[in-house]
């Protein structure tokens, strides 16, 4: 027998190992579920890691209220299929209760508000670990983060003072009130995710595949036409074949011109594209270090 693993099997094995470490080392872990392909992949890996037992993580969705309708539908179906417990932290309610204040103006987004709601949910649920589907190839601040990433009792990340992380010996020790963010798919690239989805036949929302949609252009990015985004004068809505490369809040998720309608098409498209996946995320473009700044405050 040839004792060889290809890179997808090696990544899969690493991610499963990390998820089992979380289950073993924490009292009350939660899996942050956004409805995007990376969190769907996370649920898929968690299912494998604990089969035939149930996934020992609660799912937590921070809902901005500005979703693509399909995201919520898909989320609820997945929850039903896996029998997982779902908690929804609602930005809408946080605005109503005064926990956060809605941004105003043409580029208003609820992206930043998610942080306060997320931290509030983690505190309420007394969660000591939050699993996230962030990947290091997504963004330059994420490229710097540990797999087991410590958060102080304000939920803050201190990028200048991260714990050393050697081999697979993860130091998860923390004091009351502190927590960890854990990123089991840190080392996967966008292409790895799609190749794995192809290999495993993972079901995804149809938003990821080319479809015709009403869109408009802002600052060189195509955005989906939605009641949640007020348009500036001169911004014309038109129909286009597009797909999402990431799914977040409608207000900041760019859509891409694409004819890729199958997983195989998407793999070909990604292999030749000249733009990163988050290139269409207006939340990352607010400043040079916008992801780092948000992460320091406790963002995903």
């Amino acid at each position: 027998m040839d004792y060889h693993m290809n890179h997808l099997q090696e990544l899969e094995s690493e991610s499963i190992f990390i998820m089992r470490e979380v289950a073993a080392k924490f009292e009350n872990p939660v899996l942050m579920f956004s409805g995007g392909k990376d969190s769907i992949l996370m649920v898929h890996l968690a299912y494998k890691a604990f089969y035939p037992a149930k996934v020992p993580f609660t799912l937590l969705h921070i809902d901005t209220g500005h979703n693509f309708d399909e995201t919520i539908r898909f989320r609820d179906e997945l929850v039903q299929k896996t029998g997982a417990k779902l908690i929804v932290g609602s930005v809408d309610e946080a605005i109503k209760s005064g926990l956060v204040t809605e941004e105003t103006g043409i580029n208003a987004s609820r992206n930043g508000l998610q942080t306060a709601v997320l931290l509030d949910e983690l505190e309420k649920g007394k969660f000591d670990a939050a699993l996230g589907g962030a990947r290091r190839d997504e963004e330059k601040a994420r490229a710097k983060e540990r797999i087991f990433s410590h958060r102080d009792d304000f939920g803050q990340w201190d990028p200048k003072n991260q714990r050393p992380e050697l081999w697979n010996l993860f130091n998860a020790k923390h004091k009351m009130g502190e927590h960890f963010r854990v990123f089991p798919i840190s080392n996967w690239t966008e292409l790895d995710v799609w190749q794995y989805i192809a290999m495993e036949n993972v079901d995804l929302p149809s938003l990821y595949f080319a479809h015709e949609r009403a869109v408009f252009e802002r600052d060189g990015t195509l955005l989906a036409d939605s009641v949640h985004i007020p348009k500036k004068p001169g911004e014309e809505v038109f129909m286009e074949m597009v797909r999402c490369r990431t799914i977040g809040d409608v207000t900041c998720t760019g859509v891409w011109r694409s004819n890729a309608s199958t997983v195989e098409d998407i793999i070909d498209e990604i292999a030749t594209t000249r733009m990163t996946e988050r290139g269409g995320r207006t939340d990352d473009k607010r400043s040079e270090t916008s992801m780092e700044d948000r992460k320091k405050q406790g963002y995903f």
Binding site: M5, Q9, S13, A24, K144, W167, E288
Partner: protein
């Protein structure tokens, strides 16, 4: 799709002193291998211009933190990913500054290849040596010494020869087997992806050619069976009523259905009934696969225990000798001090019995009369643990030979240790 199913993963790290050009080299490697996306490049061009730099600063492709960009140095490891038709690469670009040595060790711990970058103007300096020692302690199988900034020394062969000679002289005293040398200019791209027009005297490989072709014999041990139990899977449902699966990652050897096994620490014997992998039942398991093992007998086994073969067992011991690198800037290593120790899936306490010696970074001499171990010191120590470890020497098995030491008060990781 057959092509990606067979592609191999190579993990490499940068090493070497501050400002010798590590991040620039990684930027150059990514740029010249066409692995940079257009929007990333535009962002880096803008950031360079904002800083008033002449050209595009390729180091900004990895130096992504605000303080790194302000100070112009790398503070923590950046992980980058790229692939060529031959291989898939995971890069750890680490800091050279002595203050952040622990972050260099973080990036290096999982590497198959280390690129040791040396500024041709200054040659081998103390920090180059420290990183080379760490690479050898971590048993990184291949070192590539990149003699960089050749553009600043007129591409002179003599300069290259002298540095190569100096490094070889030093490395002869280290435990490194495979060392390669490449003269280059990371800034201008000589011998990174493209062959240098300025150094016709160099006939060897370019860096990318080396990385694509270096033979990486697996750094896993396929002989000595070691399966640390990570998590016990109990479904508690009717369908899988008596199911009791031992989940873990194979740390050594190959396990087969039907094999006789011994359980540590109890010494009980059993047989492997079945092996469950991510894709279903499998007949065998090997490192670093994550699997679930079911045994013929209903025995008590929990996290931290180990499944081994009856005739091939690790040392079961509470007294352990370690080579350590100390990471804490505010506390020294305390003899008789108590710490937490993490080893495989075990978590226990230990006491420091003795500091045998400290290593002189420059001469590699053992210093036996100064036993004060502070930040970045490398030392040999003896510890005693509260429970037995199931341990192998680091050189025979990285997975069962490595530990980290954690401060019980602050919870910070204060040292990394390799079992001797």
């Amino acid at each position: 799709m057959a092509d990606f199913q067979s592609s191999e993963l190579l993990r490499f790290t940068t090493a070497g002193s501050v400002d010798d050009g590590k991040s620039t080299l990684i930027g150059r490697l990514l740029y010249d291998s066409k692995s940079i996306y257009q929007d990333q490049m535009e962002a880096v061009e803008k950031a360079s211009a904002r800083r008033g730099e002449e050209g595009v600063n390729l180091a900004l492709l990895t130096d992504g933190l605000r303080s790194e960009r302000e100070q112009g140095i790398t503070i923590d490891v950046a992980y980058r990913y790229f692939s060529t038709p031959k291989r898939k690469f995971i890069i750890a670009d680490t800091p050279g500054h002595i203050q952040y040595t622990r972050n260099m060790v973080t990036g290096a711990s999982t590497a198959n290849v280390a690129l040791v970058i040396i500024d041709a103007r200054t040659g081998v300096v103390e920090q180059t040596k420290r990183h080379a020692i760490i690479a050898s302690l971590l048993q990184i199988p291949h070192l590539v010494v990149c003699i960089n900034k050749m553009d600043l020394v007129d591409y002179a062969e003599e300069t290259y020869d002298k540095i190569q000679h100096d490094f070889e002289k030093f490395a002869a005293k280290l435990d490194v087997k495979d060392v390669h040398f490449i003269p280059m200019s990371a800034l201008l791209g000589d011998n990174v992806v493209n062959r240098s027009e300025n150094m016709k005297w160099y006939q060897g490989q370019t860096l990318i050619h080396y990385l694509e072709n270096v033979h990486i014999a697996s750094d896993q041990n396929f002989i000595d069976v070691r399966f640390p139990v990570q998590y016990v899977i109990r479904p508690y449902n009717d369908e899988f009523h008596d199911y009791r699966g031992y989940a873990g990652r194979v740390a050594g050897g190959t396990l087969k259905v039907g094999d006789d096994v011994t359980l540590l620490p109890t010494g009980f014997k059993s047989k492997i009934k079945s092996i469950q992998g991510p894709a279903g039942e499998q007949k065998e398991a090997f490192p670093p696969q994550s699997v679930t093992i079911l045994l013929e007998d209903d025995l008590d086994l929990s996290r931290g225990d180990m499944i081994v073969r009856p005739n091939n067992q690790p040392d079961v011991t509470q007294d352990v000798d370690l080579m350590i690198c100390w990471f804490s800037s505010d506390k020294k290593l305390q003899v008789r001090g108590k710490y937490n120790l993490l080893h495989t899936t075990q978590d226990m306490r230990c006491v420091i019995k003795e500091i045998r010696y400290k290593l002189d970074i420059n001469s590699l001499h053992r210093i036996e009369d100064d036993k004060e171990i502070g930040l970045n010191d490398i030392a040999r120590i003896t510890i005693r643990t509260t429970k037995p470890l199931f341990a192998d020497a680091y050189r025979t098995n990285r997975n069962t030979g490595s530990v980290i030491i954690v401060d019980e008060g602050t919870n910070s990781t204060v040292a990394v240790g390799m079992i001797i």
